[in-house]
């Protein structure tokens, strides 16, 4: 089956990103396909490469990046929500005149249409939020 996942909360503050990650991993292990993971609201904060969490706990951002690389996942960060919260890739840096960018590996920034498409193209859409 093809799944799309929506993550509405940022790393550590809520369990949503953790549960979404565990679900996504379990779905892949069971042989399912992940069409897209779409990060919305504070969920866009899962896509910054500048976190430095304590070594003895999980690294939420890196975990998503690694899963993305291992399975060629499409991790999409909503551009409007990202602009509000300061998650920036090179394109956004240039477009908005910022002096740097912070997007984590394996993520890309795109529009809300990607969420609707994720719902249309997948067999199931599961939302993780608070």
């Amino acid at each position: 089956m093809k799944f799309s996942i929506q993550v509405n909360e940022g790393p550590y503050q809520h369990q949503a990103s953790d549960t979404a990650y565990m679900f996504t991993k379990a779905a892949l292990e069971a042989g399912h396909e992940i069409f897209r993971v779409f990060f919305y609201h504070d969920g866009v904060n899962n896509g910054t490469r500048y976190t430095s969490p304590p070594q003895d706990d999980r690294n939420v951002v890196n975990r998503w990046s690694e899963l993305s690389e291992a399975h060629d996942l499409d991790l999409v960060i909503c551009v409007a929500a990202a602009q509000r919260r300061g998650i920036v890739d090179e394109g956004e840096q240039e477009r908005n005149g910022k002096d740097g960018n912070n997007i984590a590996s394996g993520f890309r920034i795109s529009g809300l249409g990607q969420l609707i498409e994720a719902g249309i193209q997948a067999d199931r859409l599961v939302v993780f939020g608070d």
Partner: protein
């Protein structure tokens, strides 16, 4: 169409569970995850609402969230515990998923 309802907030923190119970149809399934697993405990002010729901809906709880919170010995009878693989299966077995956040 069969619906799987997921609830992730404690019934003592938010009304998400009670709204879910009010708006879920007979024959649907409810999966308690994250802090909502506290709704699966015996002897609380919300236990009866879950027991009532179980008459017409199947209620599941995510075992890993129960274990994390150290309340495995307090879970009421009739709640089927699943792991994340079981969570994935529940999603495939139902036509639609509705998350009550």
């Amino acid at each position: 169409m069969t619906m799987l309802h997921t609830v992730n907030k404690s019934p003592f923190e938010k009304e998400s569970l009670s709204t879910c119970l009010r708006l879920s149809e007979d024959g649907s399934s409810i999966l308690l995850i994250e802090d909502a697993i506290y709704a699966a405990l015996e002897g609380t002010t919300t236990s009866d609402s879950i027991k009532n729901a179980m008459k017409t809906r199947k209620v599941y709880a995510l075992q890993d969230d129960i274990n994390a919170r150290g309340v495995q010995d307090k879970v009421m009878d009739g709640i089927e515990q699943v792991d994340y693989a079981g969570f994935v299966n529940l999603v495939t077995e139902h036509d639609t998923v509705q998350s009550w956040v």
